[in-house]
């Protein structure tokens, strides 16, 4: 493939920028797409306000949307890493969330209940549950990879087969959750109060919601630090960028893949538990979030952790804002429409070049 554009770019450096702009092959720049998305969100805000919801309520919805975005981000970052490194969409990723939530529930049931911490509704047993579920879910992910995805990789199977296999695993894991915990809905703590904190601008956030958001921010920041500052993190980004070249450079790709599963699954487990804390535990909670998760990842750009975060917040806010004037059950539909919108303008997502 003779790249005559490169020859031109070399010869006349000043034109490089101009060539870059056309280089997008008709795809819009990130800034354009970002502006469109912002306009869409503003339009949703206006629609909600026009439908009779007060400005304060819209603001609350926005804030709650940001927090929902944080939860989605915990799953989304893991999903984008796995998607980027392993190159196939893991349809079972939602089940890491579900599993995380339910294992935490199991731990909370088993441990003696302690007093709530500060003004949260939960005690130390929930924190213990988070740690246990992160470990358990990571182990499940490694087992799945070892017995199913790795043999397929070794056979050089086409990626569609891995995607199909992951869909099978989605039903296996969900069936397991149904078997172990049944199809009823559960709460971590029934009957405990969850007082709201008063914030400026008449905002009221429950203490639990604040915890969820803070934890999401901390984990995302940790993730970001790991990806940019540690050797294994950079190796993960390199493998996601170009797995063949990573091999050529001597990176042990199987080790990188193992760490990707561990981190992705653990983050998802915590995300699921947070979702369960903020709403409730249902066996299909992961599946319901699957479409918003994929939407966020694709919008942000596969392989980009930062993109997953931004995409998740946009999706979260959009889902909440539209609930002001639409049936909230259509949340996933909103996520879907936004995803298609971005795909039409810039298929590689906001934060990915190429």
């Amino acid at each position: 493939m003779v790249d005559s554009r490169q020859a031109v770019t070399d010869a006349v450096p000043d034109l490089a920028a101009a060539v870059e702009a056309r280089d997008e092959e008709g795809m819009r720049s990130s800034r354009f797409v970002g502006a469109v998305l912002l306009l869409v969100l503003i339009a949703m805000w206006v629609a909600g306000w026009l439908s009779g919801t007060s400005a304060e309520q819209m603001l609350s919805l926005t804030v709650w949307g940001v927090m929902l975005g944080g939860i989605i981000a915990l799953g989304g970052i893991g999903l984008t890493l796995c998607y980027g490194v392993l190159k196939f969409p893991n349809f079972a990723h939602g089940e890491f969330l579900t599993l995380g939530a339910y294992v935490t529930y199991g731990v909370v049931l088993v441990l003696p209940q302690s007093n709530p911490i500060w003004r949260f509704s939960f005690g130390w047993e929930l924190i213990a549950g988070l740690l246990v579920s992160a470990v358990v879910t990571a182990i499940v992910a490694i087992i799945l990879d070892h017995f199913l995805y790795r043999p397929l990789r070794k056979h050089m199977s086409p990626l569609v087969l891995l995607a199909m296999a992951s869909l099978g695993m989605e039903f296996l894991l969900r069936g397991a959750v149904y078997l172990i915990w049944g199809s009823d809905f559960h709460f971590y703590y029934s009957g405990r109060s969850n007082p709201a904190l008063q914030l400026p601008f008449g905002l009221r956030i429950q203490a639990d919601q604040f915890f969820v958001f803070a934890l999401a921010v901390i984990l995302v920041a940790t993730m970001y630090w790991m990806l940019t500052r540690t050797r294994i993190g950079k190796a993960m980004r390199a493998s996601a960028d170009n797995p063949d070249l990573a091999q050529v450079r001597g990176i042990n790709t199987e080790q990188v893949i193992a760490w990707t599963w561990i981190i992705g699954a653990a983050m998802a487990a915590v995300g699921g538990a947070m979702y369960g804390l903020a709403s409730q535990l249902r066996p299909d909670m992961g599946f319901v979030l699957l479409l918003p998760l994929f939407a966020a990842v694709i919008m942000g750009g596969i392989g980009s952790a930062w993109g997953a975060l931004v995409g998740s917040v946009i999706i979260g806010v959009a889902m909440q804002l539209t609930s002001a004037f639409m049936n909230p059950a259509y949340g996933p539909a909103v996520a879907f429409v936004l995803m298609v919108l971005v795909l039409l303008m810039r298929p590689q997502g906001l934060f990915v070049q190429r």
């Binding site: 969409p89 199913l148 099978g168 894991l173 397991a176 479409l291 994929f294 996933p332 995803m339 298929p347």
Partner: protein, 401 residues
């Protein structure tokens, strides 16, 4: 065998002969037809005489398996021929089923109108309803294809999964459309008059007398003929298309898109056509499903039953092979039904020991089917009946993409 049994066996004759025609498809017609008739007679009368007790169960089994076979054929048209990874079969299935229901039912009147709503009810005959179902499903497929068909295969899978979920949400939440989330009931069954005590008004009295030994609960025998004939028509149409220049162009686009484009094949419209064709067939399957169930609601179209199971069927039977699609449907439906028996037994066993666990035994099948697909993908991704490759014999071992 009493006269009722003989009558039922006669009904079974048609599907059995069609089966024979399929099985002996590699024979020439002069041998094929008599052989099929012989096989049909043996199967129909042999089975009726041998195991009259489970005849009824076999009939309902075959009806569902046949409907799933139509679904598999539809998926094969999309995936097998043109490589579309459609994880949203449930959506087209639902569109087909609900369109059929809306067309063949009458609008609720009198007391019912207070409890049930639907967008319209045209009270049309069965075939018109089926045509409408196929067309509607095809239209939806076409509309979906426009923005998303050109996406990468994995994005297509995600998008179709999303669309199926949205379609299901619509049928679940929009009361005015199809009474969601309440079921839409009273779907009339074609030719049900044959098994009614009053007989068909459009048949002469003598013929009606022939069918008088049929009970209403024997309607399945009549419907089995309906679905197998539909399956046969779909199969014949698809096989003809596969061998046509259109079919060859499709396979060219699937296998070597760049060179197909350079040979002047209209790649984009071919891809849309195969996708829409699959959608139409899946819609027809929905049209078969609705009258059989008499009552449908959104929960019938959840991803496990209406998407995932079909994929397992096609992958096991052999993607790219229409016979494989039909075979896979029957085998997996047998496995599914079989595991149903097992879990029921387990449930009764566990009733005394752990009633919680007993009630959840049915979910064991989810896990089982998931593992089954994983096994197929690992050990035999081409399925039982692999695609017959009609590629040039001069090409061997082309490098993987």
């Amino acid at each position: 065998m009493d006269s009722a049994h003989v009558l039922k066996a006669c009904f079974l004759l048609i599907p059995a002969i069609l089966l024979g025609v399929l099985v002996f498809s590699s024979w020439r017609w002069r041998a094929r037809l008599p052989a099929a008739v012989v096989l049909g007679l043996v199967l129909a009368f042999g089975i009726s005489a041998w195991v009259p007790g489970i005849m009824d169960y076999l009939v309902s089994f075959c009806i569902m398996a046949t409907i799933y076979a139509v679904l598999s054929l539809g998926l094969n048209a999309q995936w097998g021929y043109n490589g579309h990874l459609d994880f949203g079969i449930a959506g087209f299935f639902a569109v087909g089923a609900f369109t059929m229901a809306l067309f063949v039912t009458a609008p609720p009147s009198g007391l019912m109108a207070a409890y049930a709503q639907q967008w319209f009810g045209l009270n049309t005959p069965f075939l018109i309803g089926m045509a409408a179902a196929g067309i509607m499903s095809g239209v939806v497929g076409y509309l979906i294809a426009q923005p998303i068909l050109h996406l990468r295969t994995d994005f297509l899978a995600i998008a179709t999964l999303g669309i199926a979920e949205i379609i299901r949400l619509i049928f679940q939440n929009e009361r005015w459309l199809a009474n969601g989330p309440q079921p839409l009931s009273g779907i009339p069954q074609p030719l049900s008059c044959l098994s009614d005590s009053s007989g068909c008004s459009w048949l002469p009295a003598g013929v009606n007398h022939l069918f008088s030994t049929l009970q209403p609960r024997d309607y399945g025998y009549v419907y089995l003929v309906v679905v197998t004939v539909t399956l046969a028509v779909v199969y014949v149409v698809l096989e003809a298309l596969v061998r046509s220049p259109w079919g060859r162009a499709l396979r060219a686009v699937r296998d070597e898109e760049a060179s197909a484009a350079m040979s002047g094949k209209p790649v984009k419209s071919l891809r849309v056509q195969s996708f829409v064709l699959g959608a139409v067939i899946i819609g027809v399957a929905g049209a078969l499903y609705a009258p059989y169930m008499v009552t449908i609601d959104y929960s019938h179209f959840k991803p496990l039953f209406a998407t995932f199971l079909v994929w397992v069927m096609l992958m096991l039977g052999g993607s790219g092979n229409n016979k494989g699609a039909i075979l896979g449907a029957f085998v997996i439906w047998a496995v599914w039904s079989g595991t149903g028996f097992v879990t029921d037994m387990l449930a009764t066993e566990l009733q005394g020991i752990a009633p919680d666990l007993a009630s959840r035994m049915s979910f064991l099948r989810w896990a089982f089917v998931g593992l089954l697909l994983a096994g197929i993908v690992l050990y035999r991704p081409q399925g039982i009946l692999p695609e017959k490759k009609r590629v040039s014999r001069f090409l061997k071992g082309v490098p993987e993409d």
